[in-house]
Amino acid sequence: MTGATGIVAVLESRLLTILVFLPSAAAALLLLFPRSRTREAKIFAIGASVVELALALPLWSRFDLHSGGFQFTETATWIPALGISYSIGMDGISLLLVLLTVLLTPVSLLFSFDHVEKSARAFSIAFLVLETGMIGSLLALDLALFYVFWEVMLVPMYFIIGIWGGGRRIYAAMKFFLFTMAGSLLMFLAILYLAIRHRAVTGRWSFLLSDLVTLSFPTMAIQTLLFAAFALAFAIKVPVFPLHTWLPDAHTEAPTAGSIILAGVLLKLGIYGYLRFALPLFPDAAMRYAPWLGVLGIIGVIYGAFVAYAQKDMKRLVAYSSVSHLGLIVVGIGAFTSAAVTGSVLQMINHGLSTGALFLLVGVLYERTHTREIADYGGIAGVAPVTTALFLVATFSSIGLPGLNGFVGEFLILLGTWTSVHRWWAVAAATGVILSAIYMLSLVQRVFWNPLTREENRRLPDIRASEAIGALALVAVMVWIGVRPNDFLDRIRPSVEQVRQSVATRKVAATLSRPSRAERGTPRESGSVRQ
């Protein structure tokens, strides 16, 4: 009895660490499985991800709604000589994203159970390592630790696209890897600079976010450069127009499970990183360039929508719809009012759910017909009613129909943007919302309703249990958010306020401590500082 309570106590005090490393521990165990036992390996991987989900769920109720700060924090030294620590913790933003991650991973693995045959053991290992990378990135409060997890995500995703992907998978995998790496390497130098500056100022090494946010910078130019390095890394990941070109390729070629995770979680990490690191570390630069961010977001919204409408390939269409939807989230972050940012965070979850479900259902169709061409379908509704129904719900969620989750997020973003100084952004972004209804409904029309033209589609089997469980789980959460959004907003809002607060106070502090506004006014002076 005492032994059991002891274990529970350890579980509770080290819960986040367990969440981070349980998947990779499971992956290491999978290495010991004989290669021929693919079925057992798959079941084991699904089991591990379900245990992970079960362990994460109590966080929902244990989370303190009244605190915007970090909870469940754990700290241990890692490289003491440089003040690098293993420091993790969770606020409302990361809570929801972690829950999204632990939900989407079993959904993806379950979907792959019947559809991934080629070296299924390696596939499961890659997925579990990826899960460690994602959760680690979401929880890390030390910049060195964050960077390690951030990059660790790349390798398994490269293999998932490259080995189990479609026709142009090699090109897509390489492009994905190089684009992401290009952004993050400069961020790596910026992180080093921050830590070295912290040492120069305080005499003490630290990579902790809470230490580094207290830094001020000698010139605005330096702050802008550092901000640019961070923002570039995150903007590529989101991806913000015009850095989005890797996304359609990666999404189209990735296996279904890879697309679900890529769209569901990996893209969100760009926004998350911006909120968690770039904004609090470089408040002045971030605020100065927020209008650019908003404008790029709007371009993404409209451009993504138009390109999505022109696609002939279902998966590419959903991929471009991601560019458009992520654009809207970026607009919300750029507007930076309380409602807009809260909406953006909720919309991250919403997009993960709806796009995850859409990719899953496109995968269901693809596995039966081996084509993603919209023209090859039509009239599926009568043949596969359950698939159709689920696809419809996911579509409605994606286009923001009231009663489902997408509406709440989009409404908050548009409202928050309207009340910000950039009122016209809301107008422009709203057209994107309308456009999304057009291209998504036309997709549904062409795939599910139009007359059934292809004979072989007449015998199309409907969705299977292993595929439907995941989709149903996602739909259930969509409805939950749509009906009781406050359950989620209450967890997001304090943390968003915390971020906005820290930006506001630091901006004021920076303006006060600055001797004059000279370097902003005269570029010559900032030039001489650099020399």
């Binding site: 003491p80 990059e151 660790v152 790349l154 090699i170 190089l178 400069l186 070295i196």
Partner: protein, 484 residues
């Protein structure tokens, strides 16, 4: 003040134990090879024992100077001896199954490897430019022969001849540099170079530049790199595993020693610019040319040229933390680069032919262990976090930014991005293409499994828990007398 060269005390002999056991083991192996051929299967074990003993002596020896101040035993030599010894052990472990596969189990391979390792130890420990030079020549002569080990193979003979001719030329540079330094300081002791008037002397500067050329050649630092791809291609892979790591580390430590002695008051900007230019050239040329390589050994040769560029950044930064970064880098480089060559040795069937990357197609699923380790080594060389390679670059770039050398750090990072292109190309061939060879590679020998497993474990252990290595490297860097 200066005791006669010939008075040797017990201390001096004790300090030379690490080298003695290598020399004796090498001689013993050659004799056994001639008179007791049945002992051949014990050669690898004997060599490993000699290397282990030499490391043990080096670590156990009391710190201090010997041979009247010409020979050093310190934390620095311990750390350097450790990574060089580890490289030698990897080479021997790889060599055992390798030589059996090619049917050339010969004693001289092990003997030359041990003697070459002895030369590396002399370079790392010598405080006298002549001792260093003798070490350099011992190393070079051993490896000239090893390059031509496959006597009947034209590529191997070509490698031997090329390495010998260019190596001799480079040695002449080194010797001329030593002569100039001797001419100015009146002695060949490195410590004597710290006379304040020498730092600004033009002849000393020329001497140092000549040393930079000579040792840059051994490091395969561009533009003195041209030998490396050809020699790597023709040389037996286990010997390459050694040559591509330990001698480069020894050369860099010698350069650090000499420069630290001369520039007590910090490195002048002219010099820093020259070294930084070499670093940039080496990184950029190595990475760009590697993109075009089809042969894995040539690819790894150019990757090595690029890596010497990265680590030369730490020479340009110049300082205690930068030297510690160099030491970390070479520990990292042992597990990553020597590990990569070990995997290459295990994955190719026919040593008389070139090693095109294309032949690795599909091996990822057919021989998962060796391919997995090769992929891990390549990710480490590319500097992906959670592998050792990231830690190596981390400390180098940190040193550069601390010193304000932002441009070097940015160029280094951009180069890392370029390098991912060719490392990933190999990974892609391994895992994402269908096999071209009908049969898989031969089954892994126990020694191969051991060395590959150790390298993989090393890459992950150093990548995830680098704190211990950094402490060791920092202690080692204390041994070098930097100016105030």
């Amino acid at each position: 003040m200066t005791p006669s060269f010939l008075t040797l005390g017990p201390n001096d002999l004790a300090a030379a134990w690490p080298e003695t056991c290598l020399a004796v083991a090498g001689c013993l192996i050659v004799l056994l090879d001639a008179f007791a051929p049945s002992a051949r299967r014990w050669f690898a074990t004997l060599s490993l024992a000699a290397i282990a003993l030499s490391i043990w002596f080096l670590l156990a020896a009391p710190a201090g100077l010997s041979f009247s101040g010409r020979y050093e035993t310190s934390d620095l030599t311990a750390a350097a001896g450790l990574f060089a010894g580890a490289t030698a052990a990897v080479a021997v472990l790889v060599a055992r199954p390798y030589l059996e596969r090619v049917g050339q189990v010969k004693g001289e391979f092990y003997a030359l490897l041990l003697w070459g390792h002895l030369g590396v130890l002399l370079m790392m420990r010598g405080l006298d430019l002549l001792v260093v030079f003798i070490g350099l020549e011992t190393l070079s002569l051993s490896f000239y022969v090893l390059a031509a080990f496959f006597r009947t193979m034209p590529a191997s003979s070509e490698a031997g001849l090329k390495y010998f001719l260019t190596g001799a030329f480079a040695s002449a540079f080194t010797l001329y540099g030593i002569a100039l330094l001797f001419g100015k300081s009146g002695t060949v002791r490195i410590a004597a170079l710290s006379r304040p008037d020498l730092a600004a002397d033009p002849l000393v500067a020329i001497g140092l530049l000549l040393l930079l050329v000579g040792f840059g050649f051994k490091m395969s630092l561009a533009p003195f790199h041209a030998w490396a791809p050809d020699v790597y291609q023709g040389m037996p892979t286990p010997a390459v595993a050694y040559l591509s790591v330990a001698p480069k580390g020894a050369s860099l430590i010698v350069l650090y020693r000499v420069l630290a002695a001369v520039f007590q008051a910090g490195m002048p900007d002219r010099f820093r610019t020259a070294i930084a230019a070499l670093a940039i050239l080496s990184m950029s040329l190595g990475n760009v040319v590697a993109l075009a390589q089809r042969d894995i050994k040539r690819l790894l040769a150019y990757s090595g040229i690029a890596h010497m560029g990265y680590v030369t950044i730490a020479l340009a930064v110049f300082g205690r933390d930068a030297l510690a970064a160099v030491i970390v880098y070479f520990f990292v480089y042992v597990v990553s680069n020597a590990g990569a060559f070990a995997a290459v040795a295990a994955l190719y069937r026919d040593e008389t032919k070139p090693h095109p990357v294309g032949l690795l197609a599909g091996e990822g699923l057919r021989s998962p262990f060796a391919s997995g380790v090769l992929a891990l080594c390549l990710f480490s060389l590319a500097g992906i976090p959670a592998t050792a390679g990231f830690i190596g670059k981390f400390f180098v770039f940190k040193a550069a930014i601390e010193q304000g050398l932002y441009a070097l750090a940015v160029i280094g990072v951009v180069n890392s991005l370029v390098s991912i292109g060719y490392y990933l190309k190999v990974v892609y061939v391994l895992y994402m293409r269908e096999p071209v060879e009908e049969e898989g590679p031969p089954a892994l020998a126990a020694a191969d499994r051991l060395v590959l497993g150790l390298c993989a474990a090393g890459i992950l252990a150093l990548g995830i828990f680098p704190a211990g290595l950094w402490n060791l490297a920092q202690r080692a860097a204390e041994s070098l007398p930097f100016g105030p």
